[in-house]
């Protein structure tokens, strides 16, 4: 079974699907939606089979495939995944069908071609899978850059207010980061013996200065992508303007490429430089946690608010990565998954609310829970998950990050903990102003607000809620997969976990 070329098939399948969908006649939008949905389910089934075939206690990297591409430069189509990448692939495979289902009527509003919208979503899935599955630095770069194109058109063509501005800002920010990375990729190729193979490069030794410059090139690209403070300003615009489904993918998956890239490329390839830059990265993470949370409190636009909460969460992930302990690292990776689920859900629910009201402004709501109780309930759940309430999945990851950081860097952990309080503030205040309190009289005049969750929408939110609760109580299946990969990464960096000072703290983490 493990000989089946899972990764290349997974990467190519959505692309084929996108071609099929794009070629469907424009007059048959429903057919296009069904085909796109079916295709994404196919990818999901394949991913589940791959998850089962993956041996958690086996080799670090599995499902390796390699085909020659540009022999002159030593470029190959090399795919392989470790536990971290596998988890991200699962997240993509789960989110895309749900996003397609949630965006069922989104494309009609834009007066543009409906099949193209769903084709773009599938192209995006192809590039997202490719970027996590690639084990060739050149191939990774190709996916990293090409990923921008479908997202650009999703935001620019199908987005809301200020979509042009947001799309261009998104593209330019990412491209700038990407070009820094291109310089670093070429530099890596030159000093690393003219190969792009990750395995070979991770064995190579670089001069200290060279490694630090190359680290910086990669890190800049990833910090813009993630985004970390102070490179974050594109995300609220893009997240605010993108259609809800695309925004869920943008924040839920696309941005994880940044943190994933740091774990897969920055840390193992340039261990000394990673240690050298770690204090700076930690500082960026901590500033991001506090600063973005404060901004989130002040937002009046729902989608922008959710975008800012994500920047705060990316601060947590960054802290978890650069704390250099297995606990914090596992917590960070788990956070990448949980954040994808929780914020994905939050974006989708907020999107449903906005579609009903026709406005994204919090001040246009008020007491909506009385009209759409079920939707308000789901929003409340998504909000609680987002603020990491115990019992929901994000709590496990946030807690792991904090205690993992505490063992090596107490001040950072203490300041980061303040972020939890602020998270409670922005989530609960947002909920209170939209769904609680006295009913805003204008809401009753809006037709859409009289419809509670439809069956389609229930199908969208149910799996996400189930996963968030399940992983909140029983994260072991996922941590078992993540742990070996994180351990190996930390070994690459040359950091071992400090001996536990108090045994009970360690126990609580399990």
């Amino acid at each position: 079974m493990s000989n089946f070329p899972f990764l290349s098939v997974l990467t190519v399948a959505p692309l084929v699907g996108a071609l099929v969908v794009a070629l469907l006649p424009r007059r048959r939008p429903d057919l296009a939606k069904l085909v796109a949905f079916g295709w994404s389910l196919l990818v999901l089934v394949l991913s589940v089979i791959m998850w089962i075939a993956f041996q958690a206690d086996g080799d670090r990297f599995q499902f390796r495939e390699s085909y020659a591409w540009i022999p002159n430069w030593g470029v190959n189509f090399t795919f392989e995944v470790d536990g971290i990448a596998l988890v991200m692939l699962m997240l993509i495979a789960i989110l895309v069908p749900l996003v397609i289902l949630a965006s069922w009527h989104d494309a009609e509003q834009s007066k543009r071609s409906v099949p193209v919208y769903f084709a773009l979503l599938l192209v995006l899935e192809c590039t997202m899978i490719g970027v996590f599955a690639a084990a060739d630095v050149f191939l990774f770069y190709v996916f990293f850059e090409v990923m921008l194109v479908p997202m650009y058109f999703l935001i620019g063509s199908y987005g809301g207010h200020q979509r042009q501005y947001a799309a261009v800002k998104f593209f330019l920010y990412s491209l700038v980061g990407g070009l820094f990375m291109l310089a670093a990729v070429i530099g890596l190729w030159v000093v690393g013996g003219k190969t792009f193979d990750w395995q070979a490069l991770s064995q190579a030794e670089f001069a200290t200065d060279t490694a630090r410059w190359l680290f910086l090139g990669f890190f800049l690209a990833f910090a813009i992508k993630a985004p970390f403070f102070p490179f974050h300003t594109w995300l609220p615009d893009a997240g605010g303007a993108a259609p809800a489904g695309a925004a869920a993918l943008l924040v839920g998956v696309l941005d994880k490429v940044g943190t994933f890239g740091i774990l897969r490329y920055c840390l193992p390839l340039f261990p000394e430089a990673s240690r050298w830059f770690a204090p700076w990265a930690l500082a960026l993470g901590v500033i991001g946690i506090i600063y973005a949370a404060l901004l989130a409190v002040g937002q009046n636009d729902l989608k922008r608010l959710v975008s800012y909460t994500s920047i705060a969460h990316f601060g947590f992930i960054g802290v978890g990565i650069f704390a250099f302990t297995t606990q914090a690292g596992t917590g960070a990776v788990l956070y990448m998954l949980n954040h994808g689920l929780a914020t994905g859900l939050l974006f989708l629910v907020v999107g449903m609310l906005i579609a009903r009201r026709g406005s994204a402004l919090i001040s246009d709501f008020g007491g909506a829970g009385k009209l759409v109780p079920l939707l308000a309930g789901v929003l409340f759940f998504a909000g609680l998950a987002s603020l990491a309430l115990p019992g929901t999945a994000p709590f496990v990851s946030e807690f792991l990050v904090l205690i993992g950081t505490f063992t090596t860097n107490k001040p950072v952990a203490v300041i980061a903990t303040l972020g939890i309080i602020l998270a409670a503030a922005y989530v609960l205040w947002m909920i209170q102003r939209t769904t609680q309190g006295t009913l805003n009289p204008t809401l009753t005049e809006v037709d859409g607000m009289r419809r509670d969750l439809t069956l389609r929408e229930k199908i969208v939110v149910a799996p996400l809620i189930a996963l968030i609760v399940l992983l909140g109580f029983y994260p072991k299946p996922v941590t078992d997969v993540i742990n070996p990969a994180v351990k190996a990464t930390m070994q690459d960096v040359g950091r071992t976990d400090p001996a536990p000072a108090v045994g009970t703290v360690q126990e609580a983490a399990k």
């Binding site: 591409w69 540009i70 022999p71 002159n72 430069w73 770069y141 190709v142 850059e145 090409v146 921008l148 194109v149 058109f153 620019g156 063509s157 979509r163 042009q164 799309a167 261009v168 593209f171 330019l172 491209l175 700038v176 070009l179 820094f180 291109l182 310089a183 070429i186 530099g187 190729w189 030159v190």
Partner: protein, 517 residues
Amino acid sequence: MSELKLPSLDYAALAPILILLGAALVGVLVEAFVPRRLRNGVQLALALLAVLSALTMVILNADDRLLTAGQAIAVDGPALFLQGAILILATMALLLIGERSVERGGAFVAHAAVTAESPDDRRQAEGAGGTTEVYPLATFAIGGMLIFVAANDLLTMFIALEVFSLPLYLLCALARRRRLLSQEAAMKYFLLGAYSSAFFLFGVALIYGFTSGIPGRTAGVDFATIHAAVADSPASRTLLFAGMALLAIGLLFKAAAAPFHVWTPDVYQGAPTPVTGFMAACTKVAAFGALLRVFHVAFSGASWDFTPVLGAVAVLTMLVGAVLAVTQTDIKRLLAYSSIANAGYLLVGVLAPSKDGLSGTMFYLVAYGFSVIAAFAVVTLVRDADGEATHLSRWAGLGRRSPFFAAIFTFILLAFAGIPLTSGFTSKFAIFAPALDANQAWLVIAGVLTSMVLAFPYLRVVVMMWLSEPGDATPTVTVPGALTSAALVIGVLATLVLGVAPAPLLDLANGAAEFVR
């Protein structure tokens, strides 16, 4: 007095050049003897036949590595590769030049000398048949370019420079619409071109002086002599440096490098668009072919001296091209500044003195040529009652009106911006990697930074086409005739194929990347 010895000519090796120059002469006779209504077809067929048979000869000669015509012509790997590139790109350009169905009478006027805006001029703009002399002129230019990239001494190179420049000056003046702009472009190009030729010639004279006095060798301007002189000439180095600088000015002018670029936007804008495409692709190949040969063959011994200066020129060129492209509001001027910036990237390749650098530069020339001709082909199609609508504001909402052509143009712009899976990315890699390998990190960083700046104007056009609402002023896209379609398809396919599977062309360029001296 010794007897004058005739040099031996290897006719097979020279065949591509001879075919084109011969066909151009036949073309002049066709003008005289073939009736007017048949001329266009006959001339186009003749020109295409000549280019394709020359291409066949280049392919048959592919393994030649020799000097012929008394050491004046070098038929070696780079020469053959670049000749092939020029011929293929010229085929596409000829297809655009030959298009008659997009505009009544074609993109050219019959009489360039008629006073602009006069009643006569307006009459000939309104669909009178265009001149067919464009074909022999273009064929002469292509022939000159073939000599230019193969010239093995500076005098042959100078003659080739004139042979391909003079027809280009004329071609620039022949635009059917906006006659004044076209005439101005030709005038500017001619005057500045004449100056740059004079610089070049003066440089040749200084270099000749520099080569005199080496024991056991006579003075000369062939590259082997210059190479020997750079190693051990007793003459003053000042002669060498001044000569090199003057030669470089002449060549950098043709390559559109800053600060010798000022003609480019005006000429690109004023010239008939098919000719602009021809210049942007073929002239660039020819100019950089000559730059590569002069600096890699003749002056390679002085690379320590010229690298910092040419590096500064490269950085300046990239900066000027990228920054000024941001402010442009006319699509042809935007593409002109983009072509200037690309000249800067190409110079980075010229300064990587390895085999990889040479093959990377040649790869870049081919990849860029295909994309840029396709881009100008699209420009010829976006038009309204007054001809081409080149102002950017007019392109707003084009994606709604003509999604197919907007998509093609978007793809080309993404290629210019260097997005992977297009030839723009692979060619940037092909140039930057050897430059970094040669410890020219500063050039690569400048290249990367200017690429960021340059992405903005490209993106602005994409936004214009797709994300803006079409206004009343949005022109429609003319359905292209078979000739333009063919050129467009070739260009776009090449841009895609060279981005996805560049290995075959890279192999070819690698195999060809060695000069004979």
